[in-house]
């Protein structure tokens, strides 16, 4: 066994705990997770059955964490994990899974398969089998300050732009404010309007906030690759900046995996509780709404539907908040089939979008979304994840569908009540 | 305990009701009787059907009785316990029920015959009868 294979197996070994053991003990191979998977739905290829994607983790558990498995090993019935095993799993663990979490919701015995995919990726990445694009992004983020490389100049420019547009002061590295805003690279590069939108809303609501010049990037490719060392390294930057600035809360932006990385994984990656709280931007907006600090006037007359980002709704618990906000500004709000907790993935989350090898799978998966959108025929799709936004926009264009995509924060800012 | 709230009277009723549920065996038996009656009429052949050979409950008995009815001849034998021999409303079809000295049923038959075998005087008994009669006459003569 080569050193990297051993490193991979060891990483899997580190991941086995009571939940994993109970999940594998409980699986009866009923196959119901298959229908929950967007890639199986659109290809009908049984290899994409979610539970099959965590087979290596299952083998490590059986071989090393059960007495009966140990006995089996002793009599030579064990099944050692090889380089080929890792290679074979690559396309199942990375290409055909967006960690959307639908399988976790339907498993009749309650297996959190998505969590186990996350654990599988620990082994895969340690064994050197993460997709090259994601490794590249990790390198860029490590040496620079975002997965797209060094975005220092870009964010400075975008903030300046926003100040000019809104006439509201936005300060970098201002200590003692209530909130630290971090952004996803996608927003900085593609949808910078969100900065101005936040500035306007916060200004009206009297929220004090800042951006850290050292740590403005919210995304964490370490979580997508599934490598806890890389993820820890990246999340530490934000934690350190927030604690240095002594903010009360950090706002997780409209980005799915960033919310998972910062709010739910981060404290466990660094092994301690934060000195601040994490709140999602939409949670905050809904809270401001409830407090009467977010008021809108007028409504969009377009037929609007909402796309739930998996990591924020299904795996993040933010479900009613965006709908309450959207109802303030949308006159003609319609839901797609399965909307809410069981919404289908945009087709490219969990690192699939960056993975060129997975292109055809992503395109196939989008066909499901396409059919759902066609049924509703909206003028506009609103979402709360910049990467979903990006994916939908491109896929709609590829499929010649003339539907606008918008971020929810931006949309709320658009209908902010003018102060008299 | 199971159903402990049930009253005793209900239980007895239930027990009887259960014991008397028809098994559905009465009708096939009656078809057999009809066939046997044909044999009797055409060939003079006698048939005996053993009601003890199949599950036969009170409910079945009732149905049997309802269809066969009660006929002209009704004989009670006293041969080591009673035997009831009764012609049904269907001439040629007889019910023969044997009881022991304590009145418990021993066996139950339907006999399709001109006259059931058991009613006929047995020659062996007649032999003894002749002896007995002769003896009694002799006694009377001797006494006179």
């Amino acid at each position: 066994m080569s050193a990297t294979v051993e490193r991979g197996v060891n990483a899997l070994r580190e991941q086995v705990d009571a939940p994993v053991a109970s999940f594998f003990s409980s699986c009866v191979s009923c196959g119901l997770c298959a229908d929950a998977c967007i890639f199986f739905q659109e290809t009908q290829d049984p290899q994409y059955t979610p539970i099959r994607k965590v087979e290596l983790l299952r083998r490590v558990w059986e071989n090393e964490y059960t007495l009966f498995g140990r006995v089996k090993n002793m009599v030579g019935l064990g099944n050692r994990i090889t380089e080929e095993d890792f290679t074979e799993m690559e396309q199942l663990v990375y290409d055909s899974c967006t960690m959307c979490g639908r399988c976790t919701m339907v498993c009749p015995v309650g297996n959190d398969i998505t969590m186990m995919i996350r654990k599988m990726r620990e082994g895969m990445s340690a064994a050197g089998h993460a997709p090259v694009e994601l490794i590249g992004a990790a390198k860029r983020h490590t040496t620079g300050n975002s997965p797209m490389g060094d975005l220092s100049k870009a964010i400075e420019a975008q903030v300046k732009h926003a100040i000019a547009d809104t006439g509201i002061e936005i300060a970098f590295d201002k200590p003692g404010v209530d909130y630290l805003v971090i952004l996803s690279a996608q927003e900085i590069a593609e949808y910078p309007e969100v900065i101005g939108a936040m500035a306007q809303i916060f200004d009206k609501a009297g929220v004090t906030w800042t951006i850290a010049s050292e740590a403005f990037e919210a995304t964490n490719v370490g979580v997508q690759i599934g490598n806890r060392d890389v993820a820890k390294y990246l999340v530490t930057r934000v934690v350190e900046a927030a604690e240095k600035l002594k903010v009360k809360k950090v706002i997780s932006p409209e980005c799915g995996h960033a919310y998972q990385a910062l709010r739910w994984e981060g404290p466990n990656l660094i092994g301690r509780e934060y000195g601040f709280e994490v709140v999602h931007i939409i949670e905050l907006l809904d809270q401001l709404r409830a407090e009467g600090k977010l008021k809108t006037s007028g409504k969009d007359s377009d037929k609007i539907t909402f796309h739930d980002p998996c990591q924020i709704n299904r795996r993040g618990g933010i479900n009613k908040e965006p709908r309450r906000l959207l109802n303030m500004v949308a006159e003609n709000f319609v839901e797609t089939e399965d909307a809410g907790t069981m919404n289908w993935c945009c087709s490219a989350g969990g690192g699939v979008g960056a993975n060129e090898r997975a292109g055809h799978l992503k395109d196939a998966a989008f066909q499901l979304k396409k059919r759902q959108f066609e049924k509703v025929a909206p003028d506009k799709i609103v979402t709360m994840c910049a990467f979903c936004h990006h994916t939908l926009e491109n896929a709609l264009e590829d499929n010649d569908m003339d539907i606008e995509v918008a971020g929810l924060t931006e949309m709320m800012a658009e209908y902010l009540e003018d102060e008299d | 305990m199971n159903n402990s709230s049930r009253s005793g009277a209900d239980l007895v009723q239930l027990k009887e009701a259960v014991a008397n549920l028809p098994t559905g065996n009465a009708l096939p038996i009656l078809s057999e009787v009809l066939e046997a009656l044909g044999q009797l009429v055409e060939n003079g052949r006698t048939t005996v059907i053993d009601l003890g050979a199949i599950p036969f409950t009170g409910g079945d008995e009732n149905l049997l009785h309802e269809i066969l009815g009660t006929g002209e001849v009704n004989a009670v034998l006293n041969a080591m316990g009673e035997s009831h021999v009764q012609e049904t409303e269907i001439p040629g079809v007889w019910r023969v029920d044997h009881y022991d000295q304590t009145g418990e049923t021993q066996s139950r038959f339907i006999e399709i015959a001109v006259i059931p075998e058991i009613l006929k005087t047995q020659i062996e008994d007649a032999v003894r009868g002749r002896e007995l009669l002769a003896e009694r006459l002799n006694d009377r003569k001797g006494g006179a």
Partner: protein, 221 residues
């Protein structure tokens, strides 16, 4: 002279049952203790929802499929329901079985009549055969299924079939069929801890963990 059928029944009720009980109880405990002691790391993230409550709730709510699931997998879900419910009616509400459990544990409850038991048995067997069919025919399940899965499903059906045959005296010597029935249960108990039959115990743990992981985040489960 011996009655070989009765001897087999006594073997199945006696020494083999003892062995089966030992393997079953010890095996199940080994596996459950093994899982529980393994534990999980403390979660440092600040809980938004209520992980413990939602974990417990999910043990029950996950019993019901999500809307649309039945339409997509009618045989697996309906068959799964009928099989489980039928199996447990026949297992837990047939009075001779209650007598067995009472003998072992001192616990007892009212049973039901033969019509219900036999109806449940027949339905469970039909459902089990349907599950076997879909395992064999459906490409997803076929790919997932190992020979042990087939074995386990067949072994789960045998007590139902042999019990029905023995009680109804369909064929064979009834004592022999009763012996086969008890034997089939002994075998099922012996393979139990080594196979996916363990889900009968670990499903509650799995559902709890699922619910508590989701519940911590305030997400549904």
């Amino acid at each position: 002279m011996n009655n070989p059928n009765f001897d087999l029944l006594m073997f199945a009720r006696g020494p083999l049952f003892d062995i089966a009980l030992l393997v079953f109880v010890a095996g199940v405990l080994i596996r459950v203790v093994e899982i529980l002691i393994l534990g999980r790391k403390k979660d440092f993230s600040k809980a938004k929802g209520q992980p413990v409550q939602q974990g417990i709730k999910t043990i029950f709510t996950r019993t019901f499929p999500r809307p649309g699931a039945i339409k997509a997998n009618p045989i697996t879900i309906v068959g799964g329901y009928v099989f489980h419910i039928g199996f447990f009616i026949a297992f837990l509400l047939f009075v001779p079985h209650i007598a067995l459990i009472e003998e072992l544990t001192g616990l007892s409850w009212p049973g039901v009549g033969r019509v219900v038991i036999e109806g449940a048995t027949v339905l469970a067997v039909i459902a089990g055969l349907a599950l076997l069919y879909t395992r064999w025919k459906d490409p997803v399940r076929r790919k997932l299924t190992t020979w042990v899965d087939y074995l386990v499903l067949i072994l789960s059906l045998l007590p139902l079939i042999t019990g029905y045959v023995a009680v109804n005296k369909l064929f064979g010597d009834p004592t022999f069929m009763m012996a086969l029935h008890v034997l089939s249960v002994d075998i099922l108990m012996i393979v139990f801890p080594f196979t996916k039959l363990m889900h009968a115990f670990t499903f509650a743990m799995a559902r709890y963990y699922n619910g508590s992981i989701q519940g911590r985040k305030g997400a549904e489960s």
